[in-house]
Point group: C2
Chain length 394, copies 2
């Protein structure tokens, strides 16, 4: 996949096992308006700290990403290594090092293999000219992901066609440590910075911040959008005629990438959409939905295809959300299981179990207290999840 | 086990599978000063709502407990059933129904089998005279617990010997729903109500509120202490000479019961003590320790005997606790793994893995920011946990 004004390349730098791409470079031919959302984890990897500062300062022209090593918990050396890689990229591409971002995912606590990385930079930069397309980036950022995650949308602004395309990597655990979520979105549309930050932030809330596989937040999570304006439109903003379309396309793309991450969740056998409605406000609804989506008891019940509504009510109950237990309704897809806090009986058990046997289903909880609602996406908790995370090094 | 002025009995009421005690009665021969801590879940079972009101009103003379049915999410009928059982007990024992508490654990959303329960009450009351001892209560409250949980301590107040003894049930999931933690402590010491509430509350914080198996909070959790004064001492209070001893013994007993619950956690193969020190305050330390103890990633690593310090740092990081990532130390037992946020290298990996192979070990995280510290107790997350909770009904 090509996006006007961007060039993509990836190589094997021997950071991961042989035979796998693990170093990718994205160049924007013009400085790109860039917005990013980084991990809320207080323990932040060096590339997160560095890129956060640079995104705040101004337009970006290149992004270097490696998998196989997170460059996290690596102290001063880690920051120096991150700086050095951007310095080298800047020299090769003849730009300011401040215009280069870096992202890493993989093993924590191990210094970056700078020798192998620097050797690989030269062929990486050289192959930019061929522009291998976004596909190689999707592959190079995979860790234990079982498939590359990608998507794109086409739109027009003032009659000028543009593309929004993105890649993501998900809940792959990398030995010996943690899941990192990375998502990079590129568009040739011109977009006003302030508005981009606003719509990208809320788009991430509805997508990457609305998914959970195991409730852990990595030190390296990064979601980023670069808009380089190569489409030639006037920069899109809140009052642009094409603004609404751009937001819709962006949100669709982000949600698609987020769903791909859940579907590839470690050991996942189910894709579950959890909606809470009628909460006092949206924030409470999301808190309740996340409590359901993160509960080990609920997720093992999903895995066991057990229409276990009691665990779901309990999760909402302990979430800290205001509820009136005599008003709660609960549905599995369109099967009403609980009405006003009481199991409806009849054939609900049988019909509910049928829903749970589906590969994808919805859980809806109606609190009937206000107008707050939220939807989050989750997987089940399976034997394979335990195997992947317990036995990885044995 | 006997405690002066208390009588215990238990019968089979056919609420659980045949051959298992499932209904227990505790009578105090004199009104007992009673304090209790109930679930913080907003969805509360009828017996929790009823007992909470009655404990607030005054001394208690009897407690009826059933397993096999939680009487939760049962609406008005559930409350009427709970009231009716206490009414019957009160009539048999010739006391006011307000002096009778009730606790339930088991299936959620199914009405109590009142016919079987009321039939069983007569033999249950009759056998009180034999005082079978606390052991039968420990057995009757078991659900999927694999062993009964009990403990006792002996002390003296003004030279008068007294006993504190208690039972608990833990992280047994009962079809089809959730874990309920029940703990009942009985003492023949006389204790001032206000002080009892204070020391029992903080004792529970250090024990039952410092353990986690899967992070879920049940609708039925109840911890309760009854002090009937049969030992003949002047009521113990904050300024009593014997007060400190009583607190020590009580805390020891509560901690012992809490540890038994963790050891019998579903699928548990490890007993892990997690301590966070040097936090800004105790509350932050506990939040950090609980984040570690609840992390599915950390717990699967424990199960896999993987000295995976990165997941632990990440858990502290996302817990919301103030940290300086360049100051954190981490130890597995006495093996320093991370110093000032960086892996110490050398043979730490090997020695850390040796620690993780132990059946019991400590994880210590030193934040070096303040004087706050907290210790919590947890188990690992194993294949059996998933099996127990996923496959229970299949």
């Amino acid at each position: 996949m090509k996006i006007k004004g961007f060039r993509f390349s990836a190589v094997e730098a021997a950071i991961k096992k042989p035979g796998r791409l693990d170093l990718a470079l994205i160049q924007s031919l013009t400085p790109a308006t860039t917005s990013a959302v980084f991990t809320t984890n207080s323990v932040k990897a060096a590339p997160v700290l560095l890129s956060r500062d640079r995104v705040a300062k101004g337009p970006i022209r290149a992004l270097l990403v490696n998998s196989g090593n997170a460059n996290a918990c690596t102290g001063k050396q880690g920051m120096e290594d991150a700086l050095e890689t951007t310095r080298l990229v800047a020299r090769y591409l003849e730009m300011d090092e401040e215009e280069v971002l870096v992202a890493s995912t993989g093993v924590i606590g191990v210094p970056l293999p700078m020798d192998r990385l620097t050797v690989a930079l030269h062929p990486l930069v050289n192959s930019l000219a061929d522009d291998a397309g976004l596909e190689v980036v999707a592959q190079a950022i995979m860790t234990t992901d079982t498939f590359p995650k990608m998507g794109s949308r086409q739109g027009t602004a003032e009659g000028k066609p543009y593309t929004i395309a993105g890649v993501a990597k998900g809940s792959g655990m990398i030995m010996p440590n943690m899941a990192t979520m990375l998502a990079f979105v590129f568009t040739d549309a011109a977009v006003e910075l302030e508005w981009l930050e606003q719509i990208f932030g809320s788009g991430c809330d509805l997508s990457f911040n609305a998914i959970t596989v195991d409730g852990d937040t990595s030190t390296n999570d990064t979601a980023l959008i670069m808009a380089n304006g190569a489409a030639g439109n006037e920069p899109l903003g809140g009052h642009s005629p094409g603004g609404a379309e751009f937001v819709t396309l962006l949100n669709e793309l982000l949600l698609s990438l987020a769903h791909q991450i859940v579907r590839d969740g470690e050991g996942a056998t189910k894709f579950v959409t959890v909606t809470v409605t009628g909460a006092l406000n949206d924030l409470q609804a999301k808190k309740g939905a996340m409590a359901i989506a993160n509960s080990s008891l609920v997720k093992t019940a999903f895995y066991g295809q057990d229409a276990n509504w009691g665990r779901i009510l309990a999760a909402v109950g302990y979430s800290g959300v205001t509820v009136d237990q005599d008003q709660i309704d609960l549905l599995f897809d369109d099967v009403l299981m609980v009405k006003n806090g009481i199991f409806v009986g009849g054939d609900a058990e049988t019909r509910g179990s049928e829903v749970l046997r589906r590969k994808e289903f919805c859980v809806t909880v109606e609190l009937k207290l206000g107008m707050g609602c939220a939807t989050v996406y989750t997987s089940d908790l399976s034997h394979d999840y335990v195997s992947i995370n317990a036995d990885y090094r044995t």
